[in-house]
Subunit: 336 residues, 2 copies
């Protein structure tokens, strides 16, 4: 695949009538990691969260050069309200493409589909891969790859991967962030929502996403799920095998008391998690190493966070960082 | 899910213009394991393989009570020829349903779709699950479950599972064969082609397929792929987690020199394979055991086969059988 974005920036971020920050976390993620791609935000009446971006209509955004409206908000109950539809249609009529990570397909909304056709614009349903993938082959490819994995789902793998990308770039190391989930795809302008591909093609889609490259080029691959999460481990394993990582980075959220969505399910020990992921990864890359641990310490006080990072680093003999608080320099030092 | 077949027998097996036995292996599998459901075969001009069943037209089959035509043949190049289409339309007009495991959907063939609608008949595209699944929960369910796993894909997991079902039934132990692939679904009249579900729902679909049951009831679950196959391991892991097996049976083909479809890829050692599968299964059932080894010794002479089974049984301390040659009695002795 080419490194060119398939979804053209700059973006107008649509926050809809989001009731809280969580509902708009996709828009926030895009803004945090690609502020230079974000021209403005469009908030409907009743929208609570707000980004540090100019508010604008679709017409204003189009006049400023916006190429795509990003639906950066979750729709409650899976329903797209009439007020959303009107905004999406207006965006298409103003000459913007529309990209969405909603479960419902834009192309299944008649008014939106018709407006896209009438105006010759693209609809991107990033949760619904439209490519045909092949099954994985396991064949080794040139270039280097790093994959983030986790003790649980939703522990900051995307943030960690993007922090690694920023560090790699700062050091002038050629790299590409490879997005595997909806927010990541908006941030990269391309990618594959691997949990939405047909099960037979998980590793094949990942091989397609992380193709052969220059020997010194790094693909920094956003992980999904967790080998220890009984809902999603199949996705995680296919992603590991397809990425054939030279290095994994384990992500962890220290205040989490149970696996996401499963009240009675404990998190794995970090040691066991690292070993299980390395064992799985050795199938397609026998030389894989664990390059470090990324801990999301947002819920901890500064001193507590520092102590925890030091303790985990010593216990596991690995660089242990918080991508936001400390940066990922020590991981880059170790692996590049 | 109910135990009632969704695809109603008895069947007329359609072999098309199959060029060799491999092309008709689905039809053969259905006939071997459900001869009582198979009224006849329909072979087009040029068809090479032949089953030990009466040849009949769709009208003759309908007159004898056939309820469904099973497309038990692979279509070369993915194309459905006009002669096939004419037969499928004739079957629908004669009052039969049509079930297919082809990659192409019956419902995407206009003449077939129209004939089904006009005659009020069902089309079953078993490779394309039509249900909506939920993500897996990992919650323990009553009832017992056995899952077949393998050193590779296509090493006889379906045959082994059906042999276990026959043995369980012979001993009067309540059980249900749970089909996860196309031939198995025709044999069971229901099931889920797990490699065709969306990746997020592999374990959830498996939980749906193997629901809570009486404490002494066994679900005998057909495995797919292999944890050691880089193309399909994600499917295998989701299936393991969703089935939460009390027992696994490892299937093996001793003459295989490389993983299926991957010329340079060695098979795992049996020891490593057993341990990796047990480790994965412990996530949703900490008490899982390995109940035995099923070896496909078809390619070996009698004495050679006997020696190999004895050797592997001793080496691994497990019942080691060939489901066809020796039966699976020793596994039933151990696990029931």
């Amino acid at each position: 695949m080419s490194d060119r974005p398939q979804i053209d920036p700059p973006y107008l971020l649509f926050l809809g009538d989001a009731r809280d920050a969580l509902a708009a976390k996709t828009a926030r993620g895009v803004f945090v990691f690609r502020p230079e791609w974000c021209l403005g935000q469009l908030r409907l009446p009743g929208c609570k969260p707000r980004l540090d971006l100019p508010e604008m209509t679709v017409e204003e955004a189009a006049a400023k050069g916006a190429k795509c409206l990003i639906v950066g908000v979750a729709n409650a109950g899976g329903v797209v309200s009439d007020s959303w539809t009107a905004t999406l249609v207006a965006a298409l009529e103003a000459g913007l493409d529309v990209a969405s990570g909603l479960h419902v397909r834009l192309s299944d909304l008649p008014a939106v589909r018709d407006a896209a056709e009438a105006n010759g614009r693209h609809l991107f349903d990033v949760r619904h891969p439209s490519q045909e993938f092949k099954v994985g082959t396991g064949i080794r490819r040139a270039g280097k790859r790093l994959l983030t994995v986790g003790t649980d789902a939703s522990v900051g793998k995307m943030y960690a991967t993007l922090a690694l990308e920023a560090e790699w770039r700062r050091r002038g190391v050629p790299c590409t962030f490879r997005a595997t989930g909806q927010t990541g795809i908006f941030v990269a302008g391309r990618g594959v929502s691997v949990d939405a591909v047909v099960a037979d093609f998980i590793s094949g889609a990942t091989e397609w996403l992380t193709p052969e490259n220059d020997p010194d080029h790094w693909d920094l691959v956003e992980g999904q799920g967790s080998l220890h999460h009984p809902s999603y481990a199949g996705v995680t394993l296919g992603l590991i095998h397809g990425a054939q990582p030279d290095a994994i980075v384990v992500c962890h959220e220290p205040t989490r008391t149970n696996m996401r969505g499963l009240p009675d399910w404990p998190l794995p020990e970090l040691d066991a998690c690292i070993e299980a992921n390395l064992q799985a990864a050795r199938l397609t890359n026998p030389d894989v190493v664990c390059a470090g641990i990324c801990v999301n310490t947002e819920a901890l006080a500064e001193a507590e966070a520092e102590a925890l990072l030091a303790e985990l680093g010593t216990a596991h003999g690995l660089p242990c960082v918080d991508p936001i608080r400390t940066g990922v320099g020590p991981i880059a030092d170790r692996v590049i």
